[in-house]
Amino acid sequence: MSAKPSLTKTKIIGVSRDGTLDYDKLEKLLNGRVIYRENHINAPAFVIRPDAVQDTLTLLRDKAGFDHLSCVTAQEYEDRFESIYHLRKYSKPKHELGIVVPSPRDNPWNQSAEPVFKTANWHEREAFDLVGIHYEGHPDLRRILLPDTWQGHPLGLDYDQNKPQIIALKEHENPLADLENDTMFINIGPHHPATHGVLHLKTVLDGEHVLSVDPDIGYLHRCEEQMAQGLNYRYQIMPYPDRWDYASAGLLNEWAYARAAEDLASLEVPEYAQIIRTMGAELCRICAHFLAVGTFALDVYGDFTAIFMYAMRDREIVQSILEDLTGQRMMFNYFRLGGVVWDLPEPRAEFLDKIRTFTDGVPDGIKEYNNLMTSNEIFQLRCIGIGILSPDVARQYGVTGPVARASGIDYDLRRDDPYGYYEHLNWDVITNNGCDVYSRFLVRLGEVEQSAKIIDQCVSLLESWPEEDRILQSNVPRTIKPPLDAEIYRAVEAAKGELGVYIRSDGTQKPARFKIRSPCFSNLSTLSEMAQGGLVPDLIASLGSLDIVLGEVDR
């Protein structure tokens, strides 16, 4: 079985004439491997045997064009364990398919998808860590979010949360010993100026050349999924998404939850609220991208110098707009299921003017960054051709967001799987074929400009919106109880990529399983591909260009 996706241009099976997916043909393609079909709200799912995972996924990838394994969800039922592989197409994200793999409770196992999709490596490690399913044939089935010495699997049904975890300091030490040859083992992080949080890179160096990098994550793990499972849909979950990607991308995260939950409970969102949502989300994207630009400059320049402060200065304007809108600078908690919590602040005209002034200044601001950075020869020396991530590798690792778009993958859920008000607005998806650190930087700058364009159009709409039509929330029941056993996976385009939420309902007002698909998590897993063979500064530049937020990686 080859690990590389086949590049031959064979006819893609399973697409009917009108461009929609034909699940019967897909089932036929799988040739009896499908035991029965489940209906998830986002797309049908095929239930297969645990030993047929690799065959099924290979067929779907090579013959049916499902080249994006966006998420792996694992969960425990009263009678069985289950892994769900959420498949998509990079070229057509609306073509979705779930592959459900049940396995017995007394011996939870299934074949690993890692040989087919590299991204399954980390996702299955997480599933093993939190739920306890064993993946046969996985090359490296270690815990990923929790320490190696952790007892039990926290999302399992029989896990005792009150049992204290006793971890001896000795067993929990960072490894220091050198390997038995001329290489040097070095711990970059968890406390290091360039790891953007508490990330630990176990690095092996030969001189200054990076031989291997093994990111050790989980320092910021709070088990947000478990927290969400203990809270009700209507009021209690919404504040938590703000804490995933806390680098001011809060509204984008809230939208991920809102989108999944609204579709699960069939809630409508009024048009007016959609426009406010779109505007707020794009403001957040600008904030997040400015932070990415600033911290990347910090990594390459080496100090809190001019560029970092310029980025912070520009971001501050957006932050104050968001503060006016939501009342908060960081943990916005502004979305509600079925709409937003309140209207634009008064005086309305003044607020909209403030946004206008900002968006009008964005093109000049971008010019300044281009003068200072992208046209600087030393900056180009440091960035062009560094941290190469070819499109094929990127697809294998489930890379999304600006990182994928800088590898030439034209994938943006705002356009391809429309939500909110995006489809009615005029904007472009920025892509770049450079595949390197430099193009990632350019894509982010380009996206800031596009976001400003979107915001501008939203402001125009809001200015002329008739006063009597300003409906902020649809009629949402006080308690939301989605139907029993309804399952949904929905994603939005967050600042870092595809931020997905999987929810399974058990008929109560709390989710039975809440799974977060974090874009940073998948993007970070490419770091070793990018950094191998480069120098330490290239490793730092590559890491900076991925723009990870550890709160979202670790959740």
Binding site: G302, N376, I540
Partner: protein, 359 residues
């Protein structure tokens, strides 16, 4: 009294012994100590203003900020607060450091920089010694600093420090040779290694434009060498784009990682003294030393001009730090060996031809 030193032409040490009436050999040695104390303190005060206050203010201005403004006028008293803070911190000695080299390293850096100032003419007679080989001496002394960096990197028992130390060595050779070869081109013009004579050689007017005489500073005579030297000097003092041995975002400050409290202060101080020493060398061999740029301004004491010039060089380094990315070590070596070295030799040969033809 200070003004007296600025006016008189007697060498500094002799002048001191005259004032205090110390004529014996012992008296001369004592006077020399006083002189060294004076020069040393001038530079230490410069570094003290630069480190905790000026650097912050300059960086903040480049980054659209305000920086220290709470203590005293313009926040100047932060210097006192910082001094107390830095000295009162705990000195942490990590396990497994190689003593006493770990303790010696922080002393070498400020020591080498301070010693360099002994031969720098600062205007008037503010020059401790004026040996015939002044220029060679000052380069020799300034290079000792890399030794301190390597010792610190090696003895810290820290891999980041080790990498920083190794980077410093690799870099050192790449920029020292171009630095000295470029300086040699100035020597070809001046025909002497004695720093006071190099300064004196720059005092004649080069040309007169609209009644304003442009002095024959070597920066104007040979701007190419000046720029080359300025770049190599950035590497010598380890500032962007060449702050490779420290590289906070890669090596967590490299060789300084394990140093705290007073040892850290010594490194910090040494670095700033080094920037000023680099500035002093540039001032002496390219910017006409302590002389005024136009003769109508020469009523201002030379010492003031000298300070102004070395602070300009300091400002330049901070400007670079605020706006230029850091190079990678291999790129730096490439620039050093393939670029700076070749250019500095080209410059030397052309200067030699020029001097041979004109002189």
């Amino acid at each position: 009294m200070t003004f007296f030193f600025l006016e008189t032409q007697t060498p500094l040490v002799d002048a001191i012994s005259q004032i205090f009436g110390l004529d014996s050999t012992l008296g001369l040695i004592f006077s020399a100590f006083i002189g060294a104390f004076l020069i040393g303190n001038i530079m230490l005060i410069s570094a003290a203003i630069a480190g905790p206050w000026a650097k912050r203010k300059i960086t903040a201005t480049f980054g659209d900020r305000i920086a220290v403004n709470r203590l005293g006028p313009l926040g100047l008293l932060i210097i006192v607060a910082d001094a107390i803070r830095l000295i009162s911190k705990e000195l942490i000695i990590p396990e497994g450091v190689d003593r006493p080299s770990w303790d010696i390293a922080p002393l070498i850096l400020p020591f080498s920089a301070l010693l360099g100032f002994a031969v720098i003419p600062m205007g008037g007679n503010l020059q401790l010694a004026d040996p015939e080989t002044g220029l060679v001496f000052v380069f020799a002394i300034a290079s000792i600093a890399s030794l301190g960096v390597v010792i610190a990197g090696y003895s810290s028992n820290n891999k980041f420090s080790m990498l920083g130390g190794l980077r410093a060595v690799a870099m050192n050779i790449a920029y020292e040779i171009p630095l000295i070869v470029t300086a040699a081109s100035v020597v070809l013009f001046a025909g002497t290694l004695r720093l006071s004579e190099i300064v004196a050689a720059q005092s004649d007017p080069l040309l007169i434009i609209a009644g304003v005489a442009i002095p024959s500073w070597y920066a104007f005579i040979n701007p190419f060498a000046f720029i080359l030297f300025l770049v190599a000097n950035l590497a010598e003092i380890g500032r962007n784009p060449f702050d490779i041995p420290e590289a906070p975002t890669e090596l967590v400050a490299g060789y300084i990682t394990e140093y705290s409290s007073v040892y850290f202060v010594l490194f910090f101080l040494g670095e700033f003294l080094h920037i000023f020493l680099g500035g002093a060398i540039i001032t002496t061999i390219f910017l006409g030393g302590a002389s005024a740029p136009i003769s109508s301004l020469s009523f201002i004491p030379g010492f003031v001009w000298f300070l102004l010039k070395i602070w300009s060089v300091f400002l330049f380094t901070q400007w670079m730090r605020a706006s230029i990315p850091r190079l990678r070590i291999d790129q730096m070596l490439e620039i050093g060996w393939k670029g700076l070295l070749a250019l500095s030799f080209v410059n030397l040969i052309f200067t030699a031809i020029l001097v041979g033809v004109i002189g």
